[in-house]
Subunit: 391 residues, 2 copies
């Protein structure tokens, strides 16, 4: 009996777990401390009224013999997929229902998608980025090449046509830097992928925070993308579904490699290793895409973006360099040349503020720090006051 | 770019998908036919009252800022894990909370668990059995050896100490045959696994249907099992959660291979590639394990087992051989030497009854047929009448 190779080599701690453990330890030692958590990207506003209403209705349906629903269809209910189809069609992107796969979240999808590829591929991962891409690529045994994102390239690396990469992870707006590609920039990536027959795994989990209309909200806005890209979306941030669990992937039917349809094999994988999203949750997701639901969700996004403004004003006034504006994160330079974990400990100890060390997202994240804008206004305001007082 | 090898070799259709497609086609051609579905193992009774109540409460909590919950803790909420711990302790099995991992269902777990093992292992899969084990093993690239289950061994194959197997899938009560191991038989498997340092993947999804008290309900009832087994459980059948999606895996902390704790690497896998089960669903699962919830769920199981009695009486009266009694399935021999798919077509065409061809579960399933007991009484009664009329 042999265990998987990755288990012998992978680093022992998952970034957010380490942050949580350090915070817990501090909190136990300092039970009186009022810690403000700006670490993990969890939302703080409740599920909107209209969406809760649909949860209540769906729960009741599950309790009546006439309306009870068992296994969900593979890939999700049409009522939800039709709403998603409509969203895309409003941006002139035409999708068939069976190009949409409902799942329990983009994190699962972005990992599970590797099941359909060979472990012999070379994978390109931006640095810094959401650590799941790297961890899951290591678990798959892929050869990983990092793509440097830094202040010199505005944290938006472009393809290097002199090297071949097979699987290309792109997160736009990027977590943690908040940098988002323009349509012109994405066109370069699509051209690259089509030239090399690569596949772009496009993580659009933060798409709803994009403020600048020149930026790309879906890779399928780009000509030629349907022959080289898979898109991943989440309700976690757009509708506050972190504790509700719903997302989806779009795999165009024209996407083929080695003469095999990726849509078919993803469907095969989905139906073999997954059994669908709870009916109640699919109804909730549907409600979040209704007129009323969208209106309420947009209010929440505006609420969080006010936090962004508040934090950015504070950092400006302290002359601390930072980046963002199209995502729910502030990507700041650690003051006084501090290292990321050093600044984490410093903030926790002195200001009782928890953030996420940039170095946890990759080597280029060293000396940077991520603050989440998902807090309540009063907490973010207090955090800003504490920052002003100390720094 | 290379796609995964399995995509080039795996059979194109998933058993239940083929059944569904054939049924759909027939139904479109014969819109007036009243089809009775005894195929896929989906429940038909609604979620019990007490469980629905907890869904309603949890949904409301998600809509209030004071009670809203974001990301679930890795591995699930303690409130649910404590209830599961209590269930096990009532059978004198002691578990730590971090040996329990809440998931979206046993199907996902039984597939995903392979992520922690090397692809170089040899895997033992009973034939016939739930097709997911084979499909997921092919996706992993494992060498698969089948273990013949047939009338000669009462569909309960025992270990062959002359050959070494690394990963051993056991489903007890078995889907589709309904055969369940006694404690004495399971002890042999545990001894085998400890001798060869194999890992038993024990699928106990149908455990709550066991009527015979001599049969093994959890592998952890068996001495020595904690050093060689992982158990998978589901709320799908015990609480009718097929459309609610909740299950769990138990990975004992003393389970080690190559000096590495399987509990730790499963936890690492879980936190990297999965983001938890919806809060509402975890509350619902908790409610199903309360006194009131358990009482209501037991009533449902009794209801389904009445279907078993009804079907078995009918087959008896027709002198058709069948097996079962500790699971929600009747495993019948196809009459007149018919092949499984032949009998499927025959039943659908002549009686408008959908069942599952035994051969879809493995070569030893040929000439057998699975009828599900999850229907409503009136439908099962009518199906039985139709059977009596024709056969």
């Amino acid at each position: 009996m042999r265990i998987a190779n990755w288990a012998k080599t992978i680093k022992n701690n998952y970034l957010f777990q380490t942050v949580a453990e350090k915070t817990k330890k501090f909190s136990e030692k300092n039970p009186e401390a009022k810690i403000i958590n700006m670490g993990i990207g969890d939302v703080s506003l409740p599920i909107s009224e209209f969406v809760v209403k649909s949860c209540l209705e769906a729960s009741k349906e599950m309790g009546e013999i006439s309306s009870f629903r068992g296994y969900s269809p593979n890939g999700g209910y049409d009522f939800l997929k039709e709403k998603i189809q409509e969203e895309y069609s409003q941006r002139d992107i035409s999708l068939d229902l069976d190009e949409i796969f409902i799942s329990d979240g983009a994190k699962s999808d972005m990992s599970n998608i590797l099941d359909i590829f060979s472990g012999q591929n070379i994978c390109s991962i931006p640095d810094p980025v959401y650590p799941v891409y790297l961890d899951t690529s290591i678990m798959k045994g892929l050869k990983v090449e990092f793509l440097d994102a830094n202040e010199e390239n505005d944290f938006l690396p472009l393809p290097d046509f002199s090297v071949k990469r097979d699987i290309i992870y792109i997160c736009s707006p990027n977590n943690p830097t908040g940098a988002a590609y323009s349509r012109e920039q994405m066109k370069k990536w699509v051209d690259y992928a089509n030239e090399y027959e690569s596949i772009i795994l496009y993580d659009a989990a933060y798409e709803s925070f994009i403020q600048d209309s020149n930026l790309c909200k879906s890779i399928f806005e780009i000509e030629g993308s349907k022959s080289c890209a898979i898109e991943f979306k989440s309700f976690s941030k757009s509708a506050g579904f972190t504790g509700m669990r719903c997302g989806y992937s779009i795999v165009p039917k024209e996407l083929k490699r080695e003469n095999i349809s990726l849509n078919s094999i993803w469907s095969r994988r989905h139906s073999t290793k997954f059994n669908g999203v709870p009916y109640i949750i699919q109804r909730a997701a549907e409600a979040s895409l209704s007129l009323q639901g969208k209106h309420e969700c947009e209010q929440n996004i505006k609420y969080y973006m006010k936090n962004y403004e508040k934090i950015s004003e504070t950092l400006d006034s302290l002359s601390i360099k930072f980046f963002g504006g199209n995502s729910p994160y502030v990507w700041m330079k650690c003051p006084n040349g501090m290292k990321s974990w050093e600044f984490f400990d410093y903030l926790l100890k002195n200001l009782k503020i928890v953030g996420t060390p940039g170095s946890g997202f990759g080597k280029n994240g060293e000396n940077y720090f991520r603050l989440s804008c998902f807090g309540l206004h009063e907490n973010v305001s207090e955090a800003c006051e504490r920052l002003r007082d100390l720094l």
